[in-house]
């Protein structure tokens, strides 16, 4: 990977420096929103950015074993942001957790910034995948879970965040059916459901996963305790989906 990555990086903005830079302590939602506010220029996606904020924070703050000290360790948990649209909340959480300096948030979307309107894993420390085109994260997460298992790494959890509208993409359904049939129990999907899918999901999104043998939980995407309980629920032998419902995007 090294050589290939280097070749790519040569024609792209320099990868952001890893590490926290000047310390800024973020302990609550208001602090995160302050960081989000440092980024401008992505107005179109701002509702999407905010819909992911609480779930992302609970994951990174209380659930995932991934931090600036283990970003390259094979045993780390993986979080894949599939819904790359509206990544401000994601960048804010990564900065708050010290993956890169908070100061980088000011450059969001600028020519030389590593922080684009869709994340690029070769530029953003802590980003496991580059995303933007919808429907790629879940299949990549399936492959990641398979790769860890094939190497005997049964500890790390693999999480992927998708949106309810992103779930329209058929590639997700290929992955959901396969992972359920395969019993890929280190795979976790977080669906941020802000009712933005054009034709909706009659009967709910969780039913699509349950039908393929997944463990499911549907919770209030703003309630940190509900999110935490759903994220940490045991699901032996089965992949797990958490559907986090937030206020409708178009209300």
């Amino acid at each position: 990977m090294t050589n290939h990555s280097a070749a790519h990086a040569a024609t792209a903005p320099t990868r952001a420096p890893a590490g926290p830079g000047p310390r800024r302590t973020v302990t609550d939602r208001a602090g995160l929103l302050d960081l989000v506010a440092l980024m401008t220029g992505d107005e179109k996606h701002s509702p999407a950015a905010h819909s992911t904020l609480d779930a992302l924070w609970v994951l990174y703050d209380r659930v995932l074993d991934v931090h600036p000290g283990n970003v390259d360790a094979p045993e780390r948990d993986r979080f894949l942001l599939s819904k790359g649209h509206g990544p401000m909340a994601y960048y804010a959480v990564l900065a708050a957790k010290g993956f890169f300096p908070v100061e980088l948030l000011h450059g969001f979307g600028a020519y030389d910034s590593p922080l684009g309107h869709h994340p690029d894993r070769l530029l953003v420390p802590g980003a496991e995948i580059g995303s933007g085109s919808l429907g790629h994260g879940l299949p990549l997460a399936v492959g990641t879970a398979l790769g860890l298992r094939a190497q005997g790494l049964t500890g790390p959890a693999v999480w992927v965040l998708i949106g309810d509208a992103e779930f329209d993409e058929g590639s997700n359904h290929e992955a959901v059916a396969f992972a359920g049939a395969y019993g890929l129990d280190r795979l976790h999907t977080l669906v941020i459901d802000n009712s933005s899918a054009t034709h909706g999901w009659s009967g709910g999104i969780a039913a699509r996963f349950a039908g393929e043998g997944w463990s499911t939980a549907t919770v209030d995407g703003r309630d940190h305790e509900q999110l935490y309980r759903a994220f940490t629920a045991p699901h032996p032998g089965r992949p797990h989906v958490v559907v986090a419902r937030t206020e409708p995007k178009y209300s």
């Binding site: 995948i129 580059g130 990549l140 399936v142």
Partner: protein, 296 residues
């Protein structure tokens, strides 16, 4: 060649714990032992080609060396955005091994023909493309492709093959027949070699053989030129696919390039490989006519 693929990759899976094979139902019969012995590294995702490539990308993200295989139509064309994003854009490597190519199953019709696969990969950076003309070459090129850690490798297997193996070196064109200093050059790619040799038997031409077409062996092509830089490319996929690479290789010299191969127009006939090659002008008679009139 597909049998060789089964034997070679089974052996690689046995000896290199980093390798993993991803299938989408097609080709599973070639790997009974590997699937039994390495269930975590031989994964059949079912008839799900977007997932085939996505899984390959995910495996590579964890440090594995994925080998993904199905027919070219379903490996390159159908999940092309996955090839672009789940492999290239993520900055990871993989080995894609296709079968059926352009015309291997003519009775199967257009749905199972992918003459544009190499041209599509030309729109993306970093791909190495191998087109073996014999099972023994497939064995060598597969081993080379898998061993080239973290690079993007495409190996295009075909039922169409040459009678003899050539002593190929990955990435290099091979001089198979040397013409005079006045001769033009014919570059035969993979399975096209036998027909090219027969077609040019009575002509003064230099025949080069390519089992690797990307990167394009610029040095090899230029070294084969005599006093004139007139080149005919004979490719078993879309005609003209390598024309741009040839023009670039010949930059700075007055030159001419003719690209022969599978026509872009749909050919709505069934039948056999040889009937299709004849219809495309890629049998010895058709090639002789095209080459003789272009180089003389």
């Amino acid at each position: 060649m597909r049998e060789q693929f089964g034997a070679t990759v089974t052996e690689l899976l046995e000896h290199d714990p980093r390798t993993a094979l991803v299938l989408a139902d097609i080709g599973t019969a070639q790997f009974p032992d590997a699937a039994r012995d390495h269930p975590d590294r031989v994964v059949n995702v079912g008839i799900r080609e977007q997932l085939l490539i996505g899984v390959a990308g995910g495996l590579a993200l964890t440090g594995m060396r994925p080998i993904a295989h199905t027919f070219a139509s379903f490996l390159v064309e159908r999940p092309f955005e996955q090839v672009k994003l789940d492999l290239v854009h993520q900055g990871v490597g993989a080995v894609l091994v296709s079968a059926a190519g352009s015309y291997d199953w003519p009775a199967g019709g257009r749905t199972h023909m992918s003459p544009g696969d190499v041209a599509l990969l030309d729109t993306l950076p970093g791909w190495h493309v191998h087109v073996p003309g014999h099972p023994a070459e497939a064995d060598l090129l597969l081993r080379h492709a898998v061993a080239a850690a973290d690079t993007l490798q495409y190996v295009r297997l075909s039922a169409h093959q040459n009678a003899e193996r050539q002593p190929v070196v990955p990435g290099r064109f091979l001089t198979v027949r040397q013409g005079s200093r006045l001769a033009g050059v014919v570059l035969a790619v993979g399975p096209m070699l036998d027909a090219v040799l027969e077609a040019t038997e009575t002509l003064d031409v230099t025949v080069l053989y390519a089992a690797t077409v990307r990167p394009f062996d610029t040095v090899g092509l230029r070294a084969a030129l005599g006093d004139r830089a007139d080149v005919v490319l004979v490719e078993p996929y879309l005609a003209g696919t390598s024309e741009r690479a040839a023009h670039r290789a010949l930059e700075g010299r007055p030159h001419r390039v003719l690209g022969l191969g599978v026509p872009v127009a749909e050919h709505r006939h069934y039948g056999s490989i040889s009937e299709h090659l004849a219809a495309y002008g890629l049998d010895a008679a058709g090639l002789h006519a095209a080459i003789a009139s272009y180089l003389w």
